[in-house]
Amino acid sequence: MIAARLTVVAGGAAVLLAAGVAAHAETYLTAADANLLASRLAEATSAQNICYGWELRVEGGFGRLQPGVDVGSNHGAGRDVADGTCTDYVKLTGDVLFTPETSDGSDTASWEITSSLGSPPTADDLADIGLTADDLLDDDGDEALFNAVVALPRLVADAGLAPTPAEATPVENTSPAGDPTGRPSPEILRQQGASLALGAVLLVGGVLLALWVRYGERVLRVARPNRPGGPRRAGSPGVPGSRAGPDSPGGPDSPGGPDSPGGPDSPGGPDSQGGPDSQGVPGSPGQPGGPRPADPPTHEPPESAES
């Protein structure tokens, strides 16, 4: 009995959930926009004797949009252009695929213009007026669809395939039914964006290079001698006067490293065996004879054995 009640409750919840999703999901164009578009196309049809329509196949709406086919024409929203008895027609046909967030694939969109006319406008003509199929994927993709379809009569007329529809005339509105919103970007950004970016890169690059030459290299020069094991050249074994590295056996005048056997005048390091004149103090680390990192590299003349 309880199981039966639970089944009924679960079934009811499922029905309500499905009804809720269906109520919020919508076709690509709202019904009002589709009716407005159909009426605009009907005006063009009466002027040009050419039927116009659209058909957009949507896959994967995921609750927001209804997967399916959004169709309409000058005959009305939801009616295909072929429903009438038109001699000639022009139709925008598109496909949109929305993939779920969990999918690796991307959303895709494409469109084309099909027509009974000889050389109808193409998607390139739509691109010339700033409309591409990828616009269908944007949040205002419905507006892109509307703009593309409503432009068809003008593109057909521009191609010389039909007379121009009624030209627009300005209408003085003492109380316009709306106000412009949003603020387009400045002209210089749209017209010279690439030049601005290039100029900025060159200018900043030049300034940074100048700063580097002025200060960076100086900092490096100061820091370089203080760096143990830095660029100092290791002394060549047995070359008199060479400044030995830590493991260099050193020459007769080599200051020697910690393990340097040293020469006769070597001050000797902690492990230096020193010579007769060695000033090294046995067992005192860091005394003369070890590496002297602060000394700049110089070219000292080799000392004589007698000195």
């Binding site: 030209e167 709306g178 017209q191 010279q192 030049g206």
Partner: protein
Amino acid sequence: MSSRGKLILAGCLALAGVLVLVSAVLRTHSVRSYLRGHYGLVSSTGNSMVFSSPSSPRVVYDDLARHARPADTVVDGGGYFLRYRGDIVAITGGPTGSRINVDDERRGYGLWFAHVGGHWGTYSGPGESFRGGGPGSGK
């Protein structure tokens, strides 16, 4: 390369950058200045100007799109409507070519409301407004 050579190179880079930036500023056209320089002025009242051209609306649109690129465009059977930062331009067919109306955006929005209403601003009337939320559930 010596430090002096690097400094000279840095100076050349910075100078080239400045020249490119100045050139970009000088080559920027407002749509009004471009129209004044290339089209015949028919009338001018306040912020409203009317130009004419012997070319078709499509040719005029292509020219403007190339030299004074609009921020947005609406094309329908009535003509070409271009939106700029402060202006709205309407290109319509005339008896001998094209007629080009330039108005500030508020006046232009009202004049051409039947064509751009709902696209570039608020709207009340048949169709109300575009969904705007659109296919947001996709990626």
